[in-house]
């Protein structure tokens, strides 16, 4: 979303403007390359959380269709069936857009609630798509959701810091 250039706008390079959000989301998805063989789903979905952070705090940083390429990239490195994050992330972000139109005022608590909904939707949806209903992963999945939701404020701080870098880039 491009805004009309203002005479008071800070002088910024266009590359840094998109490179920092795009790079941070991809880095979040790539956390799965850490050298660790997991016994059960332990890692929060960092790619999704960082993407949510940008969407909720700086909606103009990324396009409306951003979940499609990011979801595809996440599917390639996460081990989920290809297409699951593309679909679930797009659906979650359309839902956030719809809620966004209704909300008059906004504070961090509302952002957190929206992020909670999106994270829970994406993880539970991903579990239903990837694994049969009889698998014993639901308790672990619940913990994964709780950990991811509790980590969201830290991700939000990270985005705020990155946004500061971006505004100086």
């Amino acid at each position: 979303m491009s805004r009309p250039p203002s005479a008071f706008a800070p002088q910024t390079s266009p590359t840094g403007q998109w490179l920092i959000p795009v790079g941070s989301v991809m880095a979040g998805s790539l956390v799965t390359v850490i050298p660790f063989i997991a016994t059960f789903p332990v890692l929060p979905p960092f790619g999704l959380m960082i993407l949510l952070g940008w969407r909720l705090m700086r909606p103009e940083a990324l396009r409306v269709w951003a979940p499609i390429p990011f979801g595809l990239f996440d599917d390639l490195v996460s081990g989920q069936p290809l297409g699951s994050a593309v679909m679930l992330w797009s659906m979650a972000f359309l839902a956030i857009d719809m809620l966004d139109q209704r909300l008059v005022a906004r504070d961090f608590w509302q952002d957190w609630v929206l992020a909670t909904g999106a994270i829970a939707f994406a993880l539970i949806g991903g579990r239903l798509i990837a694994t049969g209903i009889e698998a014993h992963v639901d308790t672990l999945l619940l913990f994964q959701v709780i950990v991811a939701v509790l980590l969201y404020p830290f991700i939000a701080r990270l985005i705020a810091w990155l946004d500061l870098k971006r505004s100086r880039a």
């Binding site: 063989i37 016994t39 789903p41 103009e60 979940p67 499609i68 390639l76 297409g83 999945l141």
Partner: protein, 291 residues
């Protein structure tokens, strides 16, 4: 705080259209995702080339990070072992003496086994190792249990090959790329392995549960339920896994199945051995060249 309304395009017609098209693309993305998902559900290896290509890039990174982490992580171990080494030495000497008798007996049994097999004129496929390679990363955020092994087609690793660790069976290769291969671990909810009890050979199936444990069901109810402490090894049935590879130890008796803990603890794995498929599928029939 007022909502950041940066997505409101204002009165610019061009900006309004651009936003509208963005939403059209976003909704199309949901459909594209659903279609991709349908393809990957119906034909799981469909996108293996894409995944293998990504793994080619990520595996060296994981490997490099892993070397550094292991280097730092082993320092406390060095210090600890320096102080504990005398007591350990005495304990190990005692253990060697105790086990010598067992070893002699086992050697005699192994020799007798070979002799009897020769007498029976039995033909057995050879159990061959393809390569020892490092397990570099895993699907830690997903409910599926895949691991990435840093060896691929270039090293002779192909889809379907069994993979074992030093302590027991890890899983089998499901997708092989040029230098990496994806391993479906035995604890994955979609993995089922034919096993038998080491003690008496009672056959069963060990299925992954998704939470790090295995669910073991006996094939025949008459052989009785598996009891805690039973060691399960692969039976060789089905032809993928070679027989007698340790799989799991039963920990808990259930109503019609038992819970078992895999002997190869995934979080302690670093190296794995890719083995040749025990009985490779027969080659496709030669094309009929007669006129």
């Amino acid at each position: 705080m007022a909502s950041p309304r940066n997505r409101r395009p204002g009165y610019s017609r061009r900006a309004q259209y651009s936003l509208f098209i963005g939403y059209v693309i976003a909704i199309a993305g949901v459909l594209v995702g659903a279609i991709l998902l349908l393809i990957s559900k119906l034909d799981p290896p469909a996108f293996s080339a894409l995944r293998a290509g990504t793994a080619e890039v990520t595996a060296p990174v994981s490997w490099g990070v892993g070397s550094v982490v292991r280097g730092i992580g082993s320092i406390p171990g060095w210090i600890g072992s320096y102080f504990g080494v005398h007591g350990e030495n005495a304990r190990l000497k005692e253990q060697v003496q105790r086990q010598e008798q067992v070893l002699l007996k086992a050697r005699a049994i192994a020799y007798e086994n070979i002799r009897l097999k020769k007498l029976l004129n039995m033909r057995e496929p050879a159990i061959e190792d393809i390569i020892n390679a490092r397990l570099v990363s895993s699907s830690a955020s997903s409910t599926r249990r895949y691991a990435l092994v840093y060896a691929g087609i270039a090293q002779g690793v192909h889809a379907g090959m069994p993979v074992r660790g030093p302590d027991g069976l890890v899983g089998r290769v499901i997708e092989a790329g040029p230098d990496t291969a994806r391993v479906l671990m035995i604890i994955d909810p979609e993995s089922v392995i034919p096993v038998r009890r080491l003690k008496d050979g009672a056959p069963g199936f060990a299925a992954g549960r998704g939470d790090g444990l295995l669910e073991v069901r006996p094939i025949a109810m008459t052989t009785g339920q598996f009891a805690p402490g039973d060691i399960l090894v692969t039976s060789g049935t089905g032809g993928i896994f070679p027989p007698n590879v340790p799989v799991a130890k039963v920990t808990e008796r259930g109503r019609d199945s038992a819970l078992a803990m895999p002997l190869a603890r995934p979080d302690a794995l670093d190296f794995a051995t890719v083995m040749k498929t025990y009985l490779p599928p027969p080659p496709p029939p030669a094309p009929d060249t007669r006129p």
